[in-house]
């Protein structure tokens, strides 16, 4: 690891708007009377529901068990009664299965796991099983089951902790690193032990100097190195982070383990700390509730199943009507059409965007300016792929490596003609995968 951080190819520099919430300490949300927990909160198979209407549950009790390897269990955020097992609005706009819990006000734990304070001498496989049982997923936003990343099928020599938080507006990871640095670092050490490594490195963008200095002070104790990163969106994307910290390039269509690396978000590391040291499953997380229309933007610790209407209330409500509400960051987040959507394990932010920041555009023809090609961090050709998709030539789009696109949004952001590039690439990917499925069925 060199002292001067490497710059990955491309990237953009949007206004970071983090001042709205960066200095606000994390507040714990009060206990609400109803939590609607969405069942499928991870990439991979949905867990199987094991409770039914009328069941009494305690805080941390298993609500759904994992089905298969790429799946995680789901636990109750509080104690109470299962009011219903039916559909509710999901983060992608479609109605999804959910479990509604009416809180009884006691918030009684069921104490499912035994705290493993002597983790330095415990078998790594037992520690990994704890990660599985606690239902931990990638909390940076992707929601990929963490234990799958911790079971690499190729030799791994580097553990990277992702503290970049490159999306504008979001400050949840930043506050976590300032307020709970030991949790993050011990979590990193536990992850390193699971992977059989002695050290880990945390990458933090330079716009968080307080987090860098706080962690650098105590990281040595846990054999973790802190490396500052250039401010460049999407620095927090896995492949770009690996390149900046190690100089290794993940091949197209490949995974981080192909170059001997495993990447975990700092919030996931803190969740591992909770699961191993405190013995509690993944039922809450820090989320940034921010945006200019809010009276009091800030960072809160929410339990899963909290409706975002309550989150907005906690932030003091709105000064004026927002134009868009996003879950996640402004670059890759999903716009919502219902305030009944609830917080999930991977909800890093709830964003309210005022009308002047939302472009109501009419898309115009490509002028071949090349800005998208310059800023693409994956080194593909957005302009040509966009033309191919417009003419429904998905075979051509596949040859141009549209499947390598990480949907970071840099190209859409830079396009002077306001072309809906990311939507076109999503369409191309969907059509290519559908065609492959059709071919394999034949």
């Amino acid at each position: 690891m060199s002292d001067k951080p490497r710059k990955f190819k491309g990237g953009i520099h949007p206004e970071d708007s983090k001042a709205l919430s960066a200095s606000k300490a994390v507040q714990t949300a009060p206990l609400f009377d109803k939590y609607t927990v969405i069942v499928h909160q991870n990439i991979g198979a949905a867990p199987e529901i094991i409770v039914k209407k009328g069941d009494l549950v305690k805080k941390g009790q298993l609500l759904a068990k994992a089905t298969g390897f790429v799946s995680v269990p789901l636990h109750s955020p509080t104690s109470g009664t299962v009011a219903a097992v039916e559909k509710c609005p999901g983060p992608t706009g479609l109605n999804v299965p959910s479990i509604e819990i009416t809180a009884d006000g006691q918030d009684e734990w069921c104490s499912p796991f035994e705290p493993l304070s002597d983790w330095q001498n415990i078998e790594p496989s037992i520690l990994k099983q704890r990660v599985v049982d606690a239902g931990i997923v990638g909390m940076g936003g992707a929601g990929f089951p963490s234990h799958v990343k911790l079971s690499p099928t190729k030799p791994v020599d580097t553990l990277i902790l992702n503290g970049a938080e490159c999306e504008p507006y979001l400050t949840a990871d930043h506050r976590l690193m300032i307020e709970q640095p030991d949790d993050v670092l011990i979590g990193a050490a536990i992850l390193a032990r699971i992977l059989g490594l002695k050290t880990a490195v945390i990458g933090i963008e330079e716009n968080k100097p307080d987090a860098i200095s706080k962690l650098t002070g105590i990281a040595g104790k846990y054999n973790v190195t802190v490396q500052s990163l250039r401010v460049n969106y999407p620095q927090g994307a896995e492949k770009q982070l690996i390149y900046a910290l190690t100089g290794r390039e993940v091949p197209i269509g490949g995974l981080p383990m192909d170059v001997g690396c495993v990447v975990q978000n700092v919030a996931s590391a803190a969740a591992v700390f909770d699961a191993v040291i405190k013995g509690i499953p993944s039922i809450e997380r820090i989320t940034t509730v921010t945006g200019e229309p809010l009276v009091n933007p800030g960072n809160w610790r929410f339990r899963i199943g909290t409706p975002i209407s309550k989150a907005i209330e906690l932030a003091g409500g709105v000064k004026y009507q927002p134009a868009k509400i996003l879950l996640g960051g402004p670059m890759m987040g999903f716009a919502q059409n219902s305030l009944d959507v609830t917080v999930m394990k991977n909800t890093s932010g709830i964003l309210l965007i005022p009308v002047e920041h939302v472009s109501q555009y009419t898309s115009e023809p490509c002028i071949r300016c090349g800005r998208c090609v310059e800023c693409c961090p994956m080194d593909i050709l957005p302009a040509t792929i966009s033309q191919a998709v417009e003419n429904e030539r998905f075979d051509w789009a596949e040859d141009l490596n549209v499947l390598a696109c990480i949907e970071c949004g840099s190209c859409s952001y830079s396009c002077p003609s306001h072309r809906p590039l990311i939507q076109q690439f999503k369409r191309a990917k969907a059509e290519i995968m559908a065609a492959r499925r059709k071919k394999s069925k034949k």
Binding site: P365, T384, Q387, A388, E390, N391, R393
Partner: protein
């Protein structure tokens, strides 16, 4: 005219490109250049025909048709048969190519369609043969000239078909759609190749 092989090669491929400088062989140039794969197939067929045609026709001219042919000491001048003989030879060669292609690559045969027999009446092939006659080269040099002209033809065809594939994706204004924009592009490509003039 010098027999220098290198000069002939560069001259035929770049400086005096058959399609873009001499404007011979425009028919397959515009007709087969919609897709790169058919363009490559056509190029292969043309290279084969032109190489062989140059060899055979220059040999026939030198040893039979030209006044160097003597019977009992009298020079027999059969140059009036040039065009007739050349066309018959070229037609036979193209027919052979067609038969072989139909047997060994039916998809390419279907894709090239009518343009394959059109190589026969293609001014590029006959043009190469006639140019060899006019410039009085040896048989070896003539074959090189014929082959390199065909390579130049192939170069122009491949470049143009790649351009047309990209043109397919562009939003061309209605009056220009189809052949019109193709011809304009061909003209610009010809201007580009003018940059090679004076090289040899």
């Amino acid at each position: 005219m010098t027999n220098d092989i290198l000069v002939i090669t560069i001259g035929a491929i770049l400086v005096n490109n058959f399609v873009l400088s001499k404007f011979l062989g425009i028919c397959p140039f515009l007709g087969v250049s919609k897709k790169l794969s058919t363009a490559l197939g056509m190029s292969g067929a043309v290279i084969f025909v032109m190489a062989l045609a140059s060899l055979v026709t220059s040999a026939i001219y030198k040893y039979i048709l030209s006044p160097t042919f003597t019977i009992n000491g009298t020079a027999i001048n059969l140059t009036f048969l040039t065009i007739l003989v050349f066309i018959v030879v070229i037609a036979a060669l193209v027919q052979l190519v067609e038969i072989i292609l139909q047997k060994f690559s039916p998809p390419l045969y279907q894709a090239l369609g009518i343009f394959l027999p059109l190589i026969t009446t293609n001014c590029a092939v006959l043009g190469a043969a006639m140019l060899n006659v006019q410039t009085n080269r040896g048989v070896m040099a003539s074959t090189v000239f014929g082959t390199c002209s065909a390579i130049g033809f192939a170069l122009a065809l491949v470049l143009f078909s790649s351009l047309r594939e990209r043109l397919d994706l562009a939003k061309v204004p209605t009056p220009f759609q189809g052949t019109a924009i193709a011809l304009i592009t061909a003209g610009i490509l010809a201007m580009v190749f003018m940059g090679f003039s004076g090289l040899v």
